[in-house]
């Protein structure tokens, strides 16, 4: 088994832990610094639990000033820092370092100001995504990006990953809905990027920071845009007897000149799992369904509903249902939103992928995915943002069966490389993190990766922020390409045995 615990071998292993704790105690109360092994254990992974690493220390600052001083302290000592929100990320972006500090922003969880006239909310990074919309509900406003983890995920994490969600075809990603960031740099300096206005002088640094996976700075405050709640939202459910027909219908709807608020697809396996779980009333004999949400002014929605309904029938839908009331609409969505846990009920483990492809290649990519699924003898369920071409194949496996995790990873890698081959990307919204670092070598050439590293150095010359994630070293890529994808697993993928071994090594 691969046993390479050091995610970033370039970091000096001889960190003076007692000295660091002493210095941090000048900044934070003792109970905000976790250093005993059992206290650190809950922080060993994020939503991608296949990869685990207990950090050197966890710090839990209460405000931006403490974050700034923690960064300053770590900078002076050359200690790497990994930021963490709610750890719902699915790419191992918040995977800790053995010799690094894990900086939890969970305690910075206040909504600082809501401005109804300017339609903005100023929030701390640890505020949950859904909490923003809930706080402004009475103003008939909401925060648009709605990742499926929105009950738990934080806005700081959303900024790090440029999170999307179900409604981003029409309302955009995090980058389209954030006006301003306050950032603590690697050296512990506080800078403001963007403005309360719609643009700011100089480079578009919010665009660069959003989606930078904690590699360029620590976000300590976010000014988000709020949108008016649509007067009406209506959902159509279209059933298909063939996955390709459903996939092609996606392009047909958009070609008809209508941008749905959400356009989601589920395949047969996902439909049945979801139906068993939440009884959404899905047609369980269908090979695929599309959920199409239209929103806007009442009259506009009525006009579009009729057109989209006809289009779906013309594209080969066997049945199109309109949610008759708000409860049925909520139920249609509940099936979609609970599809991941529903699949979790039919398989001991699943591995969620995140490639995006041009919409016209959807049918082809789904077919090829099912061929790969048969080849690797692992079932794949598809539940995804079809309108964006953003696939989420869920690879079903059992980690307790020897070799299955490895096979799931290899299948996942093949799916991602397929996405790149058809003109897409290895990650639409989950980030590269630790997980997809190899596939970055497929998507970018050496000069492009070098440019990423140069940008990283502009913000973090000593490589202390989340080192080893998101952008692979050129040497790493030449090894990956020379060996071929099936001989390498991501650097610290380890099974339970290796984890226990690691614990013993650390004298726990």
């Amino acid at each position: 088994m691969d046993h390479t615990p050091r995610v970033n071998p370039s970091v000096d292993p001889s960190v003076d832990k007692p000295g660091l704790i002493k210095a941090l105690r000048q900044i934070l109360p003792a109970q905000r610094i976790l250093h005993e092994r059992e206290a650190l254990r809950p922080y060993e992974c994020d939503g991608l639990s296949a990869y685990r690493q207990v950090p050197l220390l966890v710090v839990l600052p209460d405000d931006a000033e403490q974050v700034r001083r923690v960064m300053q302290c770590c900078h002076e000592r050359g200690v790497p820092v990994v930021a963490r929100g709610a750890a719902t990320g699915l790419s191992g972006g918040a995977l800790p370092l053995a010799d690094g500090v894990l900086l939890s922003l969970a305690r910075l969880n206040r909504i600082l100001h809501i401005d109804p006239l300017n339609r903005t909310a100023r929030v701390q990074p640890g505020v949950r995504n859904l909490a923003i919309s809930q706080a402004v509900e009475g103003l008939e406003l909401y925060y648009a990006p709605d990742p499926s983890s929105q009950i738990a995920c934080t806005i700081g994490g959303n900024v790090a990953e440029n999170s999307g969600g179900v409604h981003c075809l029409k309302y955009g990603l995090t980058v389209h809905n954030v006006l301003q960031l306050k950032l603590v740099t690697a050296a512990g300096e506080l800078v403001t990027l963007g403005a309360e206005a719609l643009d700011a002088p100089g480079f578009d640094l919010p665009a660069l920071l959003i989606g930078s996976e904690g590699m360029l700075g620590i976000v300590v405050e976010v000014l988000v845009k709020l949108l008016p709640t649509p007067e009406r939202a209506q959902v159509l459910l279209a059933a298909f007897d063939d996955v390709s027909k459903a996939a092609n219908a996606v392009g047909d709807v958009i070609a008809a000149g209508i941008i749905p608020a959400g356009l989601e697809m589920m395949d047969g396996l996902a439909i049945r799992a979801a139906e068993d779980f939440v009884h959404a009333g899905y047609p369980v004999d269908a090979e695929a369904i599309l959920l199409c949400e239209l929103d806007g002014a009442n009259e506009e929605v009525s006009a579009h509903l009729a057109r989209v309904r006809q289009q779906l029938l013309d594209s080969g839908a066997t049945e199109v249902r309109t949610a008759e009331n708000e409860e049925q609409r909520a139920l249609f969505w509940k099936g979609r939103k609970s599809a991941f846990p529903a699949v979790g009920r039919i398989s001991p483990d699943y591995y969620c992928m995140d490639g995006t492809v041009p919409r016209k290649r959807l049918a082809e990519v789904l077919l090829e995915t099912s061929r790969l699924s048969a080849h690797y003898q692992l079932p794949v369920a598809n539940v995804f943002h079809a309108g964006d071409g953003n696939l989420h194949p869920l690879i079903l496996y059992d980690a307790n069966r020897p070799g299955e995790l490895k096979r799931a990873e290899d299948l996942g890698a093949e799916i991602l490389e397929l996405c790149v081959r058809v003109g897409g990307t290895i990650t639409g919204e989950h980030g590269v993190g630790h997980e997809k670092i190899h596939q970055m070598c497929v998507q970018f050439n050496a000069a492009e990766l070098a440019q990423f590293h140069a940008v990283k150095r502009a913000f973090d010359p000593h490589g202390l922020l989340n080192p080893g994630k998101a952008v692979p070293q050129p040497r790493h890529c030449s090894e990956y390409k020379a060996l071929g994808s099936d001989t390498l697993t991501p650097p610290s993928a380890r099974d339970q045995d290796a984890r226990d071994q690691d614990a013993r090594d650390h004298g726990a």
């Binding site: 958009i254 506009e300 990307t425």
Partner: protein, 372 residues
């Protein structure tokens, strides 16, 4: 084939590599329609207009990829033929304006607060960095978080980080119908109304105040627009599309005295980008409000009342007070501080980023800030 013949990227890579080797600054030039914008350019002119043509356009995908030298007008008529548009409504400022120039300047029109800015529609770019390397970032898909978003970073960088070869943009369907409603009101009422309405689910796609009247544009399906119109009231403007084109191009009569044909080769035109709900600013001169209150144009007709630098300081202070910045958009001293000065640590980040892309400092030096 035209598309192959108009690819001069190899020559451009060589020119850049050569300039980098000699440490010789380059002035990246499109049609020159936005030469008035930003600080005065220096360096050897490198003409990019020959690198043109549509690389890929698939209306069903809502994506178009075009070479930077492609004319904006050509691009827009191609899209219109398919019932689509650039939703950020870019100003042209000349018949030969190129997409590359628009992207480098990062300018968006009246639809910006409602549909998004140019940067919001950028999906990917191919660029040449200051080492003469051809690099591709982003792509043609709607969502892509692989690597840092260096595509959007190019927008508004005034060519100081890289030479744009091509840009992939998300496009949107043209609205079925549009209508402009006009109503007389005070500045204060206009600002309040623009912002209150923007917080309600109306198909609002433009809101300006010319000093006398508030203009609201509605776009969408016929029944939706009619319903909104009934709710809002006001008179329907006959030539709505002409009005919004003139606002976008700064050809509305308000801007006459600031154009090159105006008095003294044009009075300086200031742009204050502030939070949209900011109350009337109480500054001297005349103002025109666009972007639903977030963009305030200012022309001071009586020059000499106040020394220029003192005036600039005052405008910047007012803009900062309202959460934004002030920019000398057109006219005035183009060698001076036309862009709002950056605080020290932020300027340092800019300079480090500049070095990361263009270590020899050859791309458009001084065009954005005198420091790089």
């Amino acid at each position: 084939m035209e598309i192959a013949a108009n690819d001069i990227s190899q020559t451009l890579c060589q020119s850049v590599a050569e300039a980098a080797g000699l440490g010789r600054p380059l002035q990246l030039c499109g049609s020159g329609s936005k030469e008035f914008f930003g600080r005065r350019a220096t360096g050897t002119r490198l003409d990019l207009t020959a690198h043109r043509g549509v690389i890929n356009y698939e209306p069903r995908e809502l994506v178009i990829t075009v070479r930077a030298g492609t004319r904006l007008a050509e691009l827009e008529s191609l899209l219109a033929a398919e019932g689509q548009m650039l939703a950020f409504e870019p100003p042209h400022f000349g018949p030969s304006a190129t997409l590359g120039g628009s992207a480098a300047c990062g300018l968006s029109g009246p639809r910006r607060p409602y549909a998004g800015a140019l940067r919001d529609f950028v999906l990917g770019v191919t660029l040449i960095n200051g080492r003469g390397e051809r690099l591709r970032f982003g792509g043609e898909v709607m969502k892509n978080v692989a690597g840092y978003d260096l595509s959007r970073l190019m927008v508004g960088a005034m060519g100081s980080l890289g030479l744009l070869l091509d840009v992939s943009l998300k496009v949107l369907p043209l609205p079925e119908t549009e209508r402009t409603l006009v109503q007389a009101c005070t500045e204060e009422q206009a600002i309040e109304r623009m912002n209150r309405l923007a917080g309600t689910p109306l198909p609002l796609t433009g809101a300006v105040y010319d000093g006398l009247q508030l203009y609201l544009r509605l776009s969408g399906s016929e029944p939706g627009v009619v319903a909104a119109q009934t709710r809002l009231g006001g008179e329907v403007l006959a030539d709505g599309s002409g009005f919004w084109r003139r606002v976008r191009e700064l050809e509305h009569p308000f801007f006459d005295s600031s154009s090159a044909n105006g008095p003294d080769n044009g009075r300086p035109l200031w742009r204050l980008s502030i939070s949209p709900g900011s109350p009337p600013l109480g500054l001297p001169g005349r103002q025109f409000i666009d972007w639903g209150g977030a963009q305030r144009w200012l022309i001071i007709e009586q020059p000499g009342e106040q020394p220029t630098e003192q005036l600039a300081e005052r405008l910047r202070a007012v803009a900062v007070q309202h959460g934004g910045h002030a920019q000398l958009f057109r006219g005035g001293d183009r060698n001076g501080a036309v862009n709002h000065p950056l605080p020290g640590p932020l300027m340092q980040l800019h300079q480090q980023l500049k070095l990361a892309f263009d270590p020899q400092g050859i791309f458009n030096p001084g065009r954005l800030y005198p420091e790089f």
